[in-house]
């Protein structure tokens, strides 16, 4: 006799699970976002917001050193408006990948700090993942320097082929990259003034070596090569030519670009680099600088906050612009702009609340507090001007904002940049030459141009 089994309750459970998964996969579309009038939260806004009990926005960021500060600001904002901000920290290099993955699955948070350049953000604009803010926050953008706002503004003829013109990021702070030097070690080597020309820099390197001090370190093993080369790209080629060369409209070989690579060779020949420079990352270089193991570092204005975290007693340093070589015909311009861009998801269901929070973050009071606590340059001009007790290093970084370039042009393929970075890693240890690296860059450029055609 065949045993009659009980009804398959387990089967039903499995079926229910499958149905649940299917239902989960087919979750509904986001509701259309409401309109926002921008500006700071007014009392009437507050009343409206407070009525919306339980309104909560999600804010992703990668700023390990500023998490507590942002959480504190979010709490203040909640007490003023009733809107809760869930500040979520995702530190580390994976933040950009997280944003890409979230954009692919339509699961971006309401608000995020963006990690990447204008070209990277262009891809999110193309997929309508992020919101155009210029039209909605016109008054807010008046608070920032024009050059900073332009960093993530896309106009007709932009190199990223963005068709939906507008401004897509609000700057929370600004930054730029320059040389930072240890005053004590310079004095120890008998150097009284920071170098004004490239030749003076090399002399300083020689003096430091003679005094038994390692002259220089930076993140050659990571992304720093590009920003360190940029001032010399402008100095030797000039803006127009640089852009044309990068676009492939003028030949790279013979353009004068080899002089840019020669600055790394100069430093190698003068024994400027710390040991292990070819694979050194920026945090390691920063640690060496704070420990007094090297006299100079090429770093961003955020480094002041980093140094303070590593050793609050380490204060005896200052900043100088990348010195111009005597044979360069153009002005030096430096890498900089928006330090932390705030980007709003196009799919947010809380547009009003998100824009209010953004407005709150970039208001004068919050920006002053932000600069004071994080040692970063405020984006809000009023806050920047009102900084009375600014250190010399922070002031010099602030002054550097006048020399920040708007666009350095882009190669048709990032492989050209990679060829340069890899080549420079070899130049700094004497394993390659500017000519060889230039040839490799040109090969990558020609390949990219051919593929583009």
């Amino acid at each position: 006799m065949i045993e009659r089994r009980k009804p398959g309750w387990l089967s039903l459970l499995v079926l229910a699970l499958i149905l649940a998964i299917a239902a989960g996969c087919a979750s509904g579309q986001n509701e259309s976002a409401s309109q926002n009038n921008g500006g700071s939260p007014s009392p009437s806004d507050r009343t409206d917001s407070q009525k919306k009990t339980g309104e909560k926005i999600v804010f992703w960021h990668y700023l390990n050193d500023r998490h507590d500060l942002l959480v504190g600001m979010a709490n203040d904002f909640k007490s003023q408006t009733g809107i809760e901000v869930d500040v979520q920290l995702f530190g580390g290099d994976g933040f950009k990948q997280k944003i890409i993955a979230s954009a692919q699955t339509n699961s971006l948070p309401d608000l995020m700090t963006y990690f990447g350049g204008a070209g990277d953000l262009a891809k999110l604009i193309e997929t309508k993942s992020v919101m155009e803010l210029g039209g909605k926050m016109g008054d807010t953008f008046k608070k920032f320097p024009e050059s900073v706002v332009k960093a993530y503004s896309y106009r007709e003829g932009n190199p990223f082929n963005v068709k939906d013109y507008g401004t897509y990021a609000v700057p929370m702070d600004t930054n730029n990259m320059q040389f930072i030097y240890n005053k004590d070690l310079f004095a120890q080597a008998g150097i009284t003034e920071p170098p004004q020309t490239w030749e003076q820099l090399l002399q300083a390197v020689d003096k430091l070596n003679a005094a038994g001090i390692t002259p220089f370190a930076t993140g050659i093993g990571s992304w720093v090569i590009g920003p360190m080369a940029a001032p010399y790209e402008f100095a030797y080629l000039g803006e127009e030519k640089l852009i044309r060369v990068k676009e492939g409209k003028e030949p790279l070989i013979g353009s004068g670009y080899e002089n840019v690579l020669k600055i790394f060779e100069d430093l190698y020949k003068h024994k400027a680099f710390a040991e292990g420079i070819a694979t050194m990352d920026l945090p390691k270089a920063e640690q060496m600088f704070v420990n007094g193991e090297v006299a100079m570092i090429f770093d961003g204005s955020w480094a002041i906050g980093v140094f303070n975290q590593m050793d609050p007693n380490f204060q005896h340093y200052d900043v100088f612009m990348p010195p111009k070589p005597a044979d360069a015909a153009h002005e030096v311009k430096i890498t900089g702009g928006i330090g932390v861009p705030l980007v709003v998801s196009q799919k947010t269901k809380h547009q009003d609340a998100v824009l209010k929070f953004v407005d709150y973050l970039v208001a004068k009071e919050q920006q002053q507090k932000y600069a004071e606590k994080s040692f970063n340059l405020p984006a809000n001009m009023e806050a920047a001007k009102s900084e009375g007790e600014m250190s010399s290093a922070l002031r010099n970084f602030s002054l550097g904002m006048q020399h920040v370039y708007e666009s350095a042009g882009i190669y048709p393929s990032p492989n050209v940049d990679t060829a340069m970075q890899k080549g420079v890693q070899l130049i700094v240890i004497g394993q390659s030459t500017p000519d060889k690296v230039l040839k490799q860059m040109d090969e990558a450029l020609q390949k990219a141009l051919k593929e583009k055609k």
Binding site: G276, Q425, I429
Partner: protein
């Protein structure tokens, strides 16, 4: 017609139909596993193949088909082949040194030496650590002012101190050592399992016949572990060629392309260059290469058997 079967025929038919129904119904139990396999294994493979023929950037769902352009570009890319070559060096070093050490350790532990239980655990700790953590630990060890150079100086070999991962002469081997340090435990466990599967009677019989330790190793242990070798070798080759974490944490492929490996190139194409099409093409080329290597290894071991 069998008269006996006549009255029972409808019952048997009904029973067999019920059985068939139940069998089909039971297949539902496999559905969750199938669904998971489909979503997390099959679907990504299909999408990777699809993307490899496109100019997808990883964000925009609208992309263009570019035919075999990505494959042409991948196969003619000298840096890619250099990365594959570096992976090959990792694989070769692992096969020779890592597996030999793993075999010796497993033989020693299997010989019931004192504290063998502890050794078993200790040797298996590195494989369970995160590759990134291992990379950073070894980066610290290799630092010009790190523990290795300090040790060399301490024993009077200061002339041999070196920027181990900052020099083109040593970077590849330095990363390989860290990778082998982490991988040796995996091979050790597999060899140990293989050793424990060899009947003790064989050794006893060999002892009666007067075989010494070396002879037992040569004529019993090594031949008995042939299938384990095959598996360990395949896993070692796949693991070494697919190395990513240590390289990412220690050198990012530098100096220059000295420690560039296939997985890092695939990652860079996808997440730095936003070229998912190219990245997928590299992935497929790499996957096919690994598949062929595994087949060759299997075929060779079967021929030996």
């Amino acid at each position: 017609m069998n008269p006996i079967s006549l009255p029972n025929a409808p019952i048997v038919k009904r029973k067999s139909r019920k059985l068939a129904c139940r069998r089909y119904f039971n297949l539902l139990y496999v559905l969750p596993a199938l669904a998971l396999f489909g979503v997390f294994s099959l679907f990504p493979i299909v999408k990777t193949v699809q993307y490899s023929f496109t100019d997808a950037n990883g964000i925009n769902p609208n992309f263009h088909y570019v035919g075999l352009a990505n494959y042409r570009s991948a196969l003619t890319d000298s840096q890619w082949w250099q990365a594959v070559g570096n992976g090959g060096v990792f694989a070769l070093l692992s096969l020779i040194f890592m597996n030999s050490i793993a075999l010796l350790l497993s033989v020693a532990v299997n010989a019931n030496i004192r504290g063998n239980q502890i050794y078993r655990v200790v040797f298996y700790i590195p494989p369970i650590l995160s590759g990134i953590v291992v990379g950073y630990v070894w980066k610290w060890i290799y630092d010009p002012k790190g523990i290795l150079n300090a040790f060399l100086q301490g024993i009077g070999l200061g002339g041999y101190t070196h920027a181990w991962i900052g020099s083109t002469d040593t970077a590849l081997y330095a990363v390989a050592v860290s990778s082998m340090w982490q991988g040796v435990g995996g091979s050790f466990i597999l060899f140990l399992a293989g050793l424990q599967g060899i009947p003790k009677e064989w050794y006893e019989a060999a002892e009666i016949d007067g075989a010494n330790r070396l002879q037992k190793l040569r004529y019993i242990t090594v031949p008995s572990l042939r299938s384990v070798y095959t598996m360990v070798n395949i896993l070692t080759i796949l693991g070494a060629l697919g190395i990513f974490n240590q390289v990412y944490a220690m050198t990012m492929g530098g100096p220059g392309y000295t420690t560039e490996v296939p997985a890092l190139r695939i990652y860079r194409e996808a997440f730095t260059n936003s070229d998912f099409g190219m990245s997928s093409a590299f992935s497929i080329v790499f996957g096919v290469m690994l598949f062929i290597l595994s087949l060759i290894q299997l075929k060779l071991s079967r021929n030996k058997e």
